[in-house]
Amino acid sequence: MRAGVFAAAPRLAALLLGAACVGWTATPLLHSGLAGMALAVSIVAVTAGALRLALLEVPEPEHDYFRSAPVRAWLVFLGVLRLLPWEEIAVVALIWLEVLHPARPWHTAALGAGLVAYLLATHIAESGAAPGRLLRRQAKVLLAGACLLAVGAGFAMLPATGAGAGSALLRVLAAVAVVAAAALVLPA
């Protein structure tokens, strides 16, 4: 019973974090075709990822001879669930949906934190790793990452030095440089 709860908790956490990211990114609702498609893709990907995690222990038979149609359909469904990288699809769709919104730096930074939490929860759910141990080991790096998220948002809020695309690109390059420098110097 306790083991079942321990196994179900990270899966439920992953589902809830995925749903929270979708809700966070989708508000306010945009009424354009691309935004609708990105939202639909992200909802499908998060749901499929959660289903994959829920059905992680369901075995697939070794031989596929003389199966009934419903059983074959179920096996195809399981195969598709396990074949596609649903979490990656969800991440890309959510960032795309965020891009379609007008610039909102702190909102985007919060989405970044949510996405990292979603990926960590998914990883814990599928690997069975001890969450406390794993997060304790990575605490410093995650904290540094959160700081860099804030730095990125801060860069976005700085006023541009001049009008035009070149000024905006300079801010992006500065943010990328800070992230890269942090990744290089941070000890393991």
Partner: protein, 438 residues
């Protein structure tokens, strides 16, 4: 290492733990874990969208993922010491055995390790097939006799942050699975035994322990053999006489031409189990036992010999029957060593191959004492079409005729179902010596 012999009641003992084999270096193939691939996707998507849309906050999205990826990949060894050892390389059907595996990770690194055992067809795992930890033990059984490849074991290593996944795979050595010997406590003993010291009481007088009668004392008799009550009654010295104790040559003849019936209880399975049981029973009584495996007009043979090692030699020789068609010495030209004159021949056969039946007849006509254990436990399926019913009846009558003709020649044919002890069908021939008419 010889396998542990099951006891008379058929219960198999537990396998004993044995140290794993020598450590050997194995190459570790590292790749990014699924988690790392997801983080990489997040980082690349953030950086790409930041550049395309010129929004620096999206570059910040990549930061945590990049930091995790950058800090995680440290000190991954390219080679690893791995130990693998079997508790037994020879075992009986359904006997438990185990494979012990252990990894020697470098002291300064910390890895999460997970072992997975992928058994081959014909090997049934008896424990979990995936175990976490630096060492693992996978127990397995082999349900049917034969030489079986065991399968492979793979080790998956995860670094501290589970961003890199290392994989080591290696194949396990094969095992020899011996047929489970049938239970046999009694033995068929010939009425005429060769003049060789053994444990069977013969009909001639000798220095054995079995009392046969009383006779008058003659000079040279031992004083301790004097029967004093008989001497008192008759008024003359009387001495006890004892039966001589002799051994016999037993040749087990296994028919490997027809393997009919469901796997696990087919005619060949039953034949080999019965032969293994008979070999053990006769060798325990210090008889010399040999084996001849008959296959499609050819034969493999092992000359009769004594001792416990002979059981394993016999079973090893019988395992060759698993190889299917084989060219060996012609059945009619077996050397004298394989089929010594005066030997008791116990044949285990479903009596389906006419050539084997002819060979039995020929052997009987040459004066060998024969007994046939019929291991056929299956029949053609019952169908309702007239032709099928007729074919089935003809087949049954043919089978009866074969057995009848052998009995007419003086060859006893007993049927064994593979479940009961072999003593039961052989009971009429184990209670008293088997008289051979030459």
């Amino acid at each position: 290492m010889p396998p542990v012999v099951p006891n008379e009641s058929g219960r198999l003992p537990e396998v004993s733990a044995a140290p794993a084999g020598q450590a050997r270096e194995a190459e570790v193939r590292w790749r990014a874990s699924r988690h790392a691939r997801r983080l990489l996707t997040l980082a690349l998507a953030g950086l790409l969208f930041a550049t395309l849309t010129r929004r620096p906050e999206l570059a910040g999205l990549a930061a945590p993922a990049l930091l995790l990826l950058g800090a995680g990949h440290r000190g991954l060894p390219s080679r690893l010491g791995v130990r693998a050892g079997l508790t037994a390389s020879r075992l009986y059907e359904q006997e438990l055995a185990a494979v012990d595996v252990a990894a020697e990770t470098p002291a300064d690194t910390q890895f999460d390790t997970r072992w997975t055992f992928q058994p081959e067809k014909g090997v049934e795992p008896a424990s979990a097939t995936a175990v976490s930890g630096a060492a693992a033990r996978f127990t397995f059984t082999v349900p049917r006799w034969g030489r079986r490849p065991l399968g492979s074991v793979s080790l998956v290593l995860h670094d501290q942050w589970r961003l890199a996944e290392g994989r080591v795979s290696f194949r396990l050595p094969g095992v020899d699975c011996y047929p489970h010997p049938a239970v046999q406590r009694t033995r068929v003993i010939l009425s005429r035994l060769p003049n060789r010291l053994g444990e069977h009481p013969a009909r001639v007088a000798g220095e054995g322990t079995e009392f046969t009668g009383v006779r008058e004392y003659v000079p040279g008799d031992r004083q301790r053999a004097i029967n004093w009550p008989a001497t008192t009654r008759r008024g003359r010295l009387q001495v006890n006489t004892f039966a001589a104790e002799r051994s016999q040559d037993v040749v087990l003849l296994v028919d490997a031409t027809s393997d009919v019936g469901p796997p696990g209880s087919s005619a060949l399975d039953l034949g080999l189990r019965a032969a293994a049981g008979a070999a053990r029973a006769h060798l325990a009584a210090r008889d010399r036992v040999g084996v001849i495996t008959y296959q499609w007009g050819s034969a493999r043979w092992l000359a009769p010999s004594l001792g416990r090692r002979q059981v394993y030699k016999i079973i090893d020789a019988m395992l060759e029957a698993d190889a299917g068609w084989a060219r060996g010495a012609a059945f009619g030209r077996l050397p004298r060593a394989a089929l010594p004159p005066g030997a008791l021949v116990v044949a285990f056969s479903p009596l389906l191959d006419q050539r084997f039946v002819e060979a039995l007849r020929d052997m009987r006509e040459r004066g060998f004492a024969l007994i046939v254990v019929d291991v056929l436990n299956t029949e053609p399926p019952a169908r309702y079409a007239f032709a099928d019913v007729m074919a089935r009846r003809i087949w049954l009558m043919e089978q009866q005729a074969i057995r009848f003709s052998l009995r007419e020649l003086g060859v006893p044919v007993v049927h064994w179902d593979g479940v009961t002890p072999l003593d039961l069908p052989l009971a009429p021939y184990t209670r008293r010596p088997l008289v051979v008419r030459r």
